[in-house]
């Protein structure tokens, strides 16, 4: 039960900033007792997102992920505990989803020209990620954490903001977002078939919301030949058809992010993982013209 906040702690400052991070625009809004606290909290939250970006970027050569993707099989690679946490989570999600969620689809994305090639390609991490060391097995495909790292970064930013004692906050990384605070945030959902249209709005309070859509906003006006989805059906190693999308509410953004992909790939609106992670679908448009 939440106690009413004392009058002195009533938020009197609202602040909103955005930075280009995680391959999109990250927008953070907080309400705090004063502007200074709000500014410090937002600075710290952006700094944390920058760290997650640097650790888990596929494109930056010095990231934990790139070092793993280049590593020789059998060599222990030290990684940040945050990278280890995401890898551990990715492994569990892959098992629970019977491969519908799979971070080893980078090979398919490289083959399609959607990701640059890795100089020496291996993967399938083993070892003990909890110890911050990961070992690459022979014959494995390169990893891409794009499916959950953005959600994870949002979760980390929210934790940082909570640590600053701000009254409410919303962190939105290009549509993967999480909220805490007394007043709900109204979030508008894009139509997966026409991302330029907003088709619904929902209130999000103390929850995360993530969407996955096969029509990227930047691709919507491109020629049909260019409309290749960067979302891969891991089971068949093929891009998902365009115009599909799913939005999922969950307590943690990393799980909402992953589960939106599971729903999109499987087309299963009552996938057991949804209840496992306290999640619910708020929008689903099935792939192609096939019924879900």
């Amino acid at each position: 039960m939440l106690k009413p906040a004392p009058l002195a702690a009533q938020p009197s400052a609202s602040l909103r900033r955005a930075k280009p991070l995680l391959g999109t625009l990250v927008d953070i809004r907080v309400e705090a007792a004063d502007v200074e606290r709000a500014q410090l909290a937002i600075d710290a939250a952006f700094a944390e997102i920058s760290v997650v970006h640097r650790l888990m970027s596929f494109h930056e050569r010095s990231s934990d992920l790139s070092r793993l993707n280049r590593a020789r099989p059998g060599v222990l690679v030290p990684v940040d505990p945050r990278t280890a946490e995401v890898l551990r989570c990715a492994e569990a999600l892959q098992t629970e989803s019977s491969g519908a969620f799979d971070c080893a689809v980078a090979g398919t994305l490289i083959a399609l020209g959607l990701l640059p090639p890795v100089r020496t390609a291996q993967d399938d991490e083993t070892g003990d990620p909890a110890n911050g060391q990961v070992m690459v097995e022979r014959g494995a495909a390169p990893l891409d954490l794009g499916g959950i790292a953005k959600g994870y970064a949002v979760d980390r930013a929210i934790e940082v903001l909570q640590g600053f004692g701000v009254a409410s906050a919303l962190v939105n990384a290009g549509g993967d977002l999480r909220h805490f605070g007394r007043e709900a945030a109204v979030v508008h959902l894009r139509d997966p078939a026409d991302p330029s249209r907003l088709v619904a709005s929902i209130a999000v309070r103390y929850m995360a919301l993530a969407s996955s859509a096969t029509s990227g906003l930047s691709l919507a006006a491109a020629t049909p030949a260019d409309r290749r989805s960067a979302l891969i059906d891991a089971r068949q190693r093929t891009p998902l058809p365009a115009a599909a999308g799913a939005s999922v509410l969950a307590p943690r953004c990393m799980m909402a992010d992953a589960l939106a992909k599971v729903v999109l790939v499987t087309g299963n609106r009552s996938h057991p993982m949804l209840s496992t992670y306290g999640a619910q679908i708020v929008l689903h448009r099935s792939a192609g013209n096939a019924p879900a």
């Binding site: 909103r16 900033r17 955005a18 930075k19 280009p20 391959g23 999109t24 625009l25 927008d27 939105n172 290009g174 549509g175 993967d176 977002l177 709900a184 945030a185 109204v186 979030v187 508008h188 959902l189 894009r190 139509d191 997966p192 078939a193 026409d194 991302p195 330029s196 249209r197 907003l198 088709v199 619904a200 709005s201 929902i202 209130a203 999000v204 309070r205 919301l209 993530a210 969407s211 859509a213 029509s215 990227g216 906003l217 930047s218 919507a220 006006a221 999308g245 939005s247 509410l249 609106r269 619910q280 679908i281 708020v282 929008l283 689903h284 448009r285 099935s286 013209n289 019924p291 879900a292």
Partner: protein, 188 residues
């Protein structure tokens, strides 16, 4: 739940936490984050004043930046300001606008006095649809808009989820400014 869905294949599951879903018909979305002046103060809190500077690019430097940045470019939107502490240059702020298929983004890049990127802030984000984005009229509707005079249509659509904006144009713009800083600012 009464809902006008655009196709029969879209399924809305209205959660208990959700407001009644509604159709939103806006075709332009806008968010103003901060003014250029506020960004300058935020990025150089120790500066005593901010002095506008001419870009002063020689044709040779322009060619060099274009070749390093991988494409011809325009500095039409660029504004250069020096962050001063007395006589000392603490660094620079370049503001710019990039136009994508749907979006117009105003942003500010803080540069250290050696030309290294120090910080980036988004000043405003605009999104419009319907094929009109690249036309002059579409651009003109933003001219003169400030934090105090936001757009009337779809004003301040706070939060959107769905297909993710890939900010390629923004990344390209930042790369051009970084190159400019190395070529033209680092020596001064």
């Amino acid at each position: 739940m009464a809902l006008r869905a655009p196709t029969s294949q879209v399924c809305f599951i209205c959660a208990t936490a959700a407001l009644p879903a509604m159709l939103v018909s806006n075709s332009a979305f806008a968010t103003d984050y901060m003014s250029a002046a506020a960004a300058q103060r935020l990025m150089f809190p120790g500066a005593s004043e901010f002095v506008p500077r001419a870009l002063a690019l020689t044709p040779e430097q322009t060619r060099l930046i274009a070749s390093k940045a991988g494409a011809p470019f325009s500095t039409a939107f660029w504004k250069l300001t020096a962050a001063m502490s007395g006589e000392q240059v603490l660094g620079y702020v370049v503001t710019d606008s990039v136009i994508g298929k749907f979006e117009l983004i105003d942003y500010a890049v803080a540069l250290a006095s050696d030309g290294a990127i120090k910080d980036i802030e988004i000043l405003s984000y605009r999104e419009a649809h319907g094929g009109e984005v690249r036309t002059k009229a579409w651009r003109n509707q933003f001219v003169g808009k400030t934090v105090n005079a936001p757009l009337a249509i779809g004003d301040d659509i706070a939060n959107i989820s769905g297909a993710t904006l890939s900010c390629t144009h923004l990344t390209d713009g930042i790369r051009r400014i970084a190159t400019y800083a190395r070529v033209a600012l680092a020596k001064s």
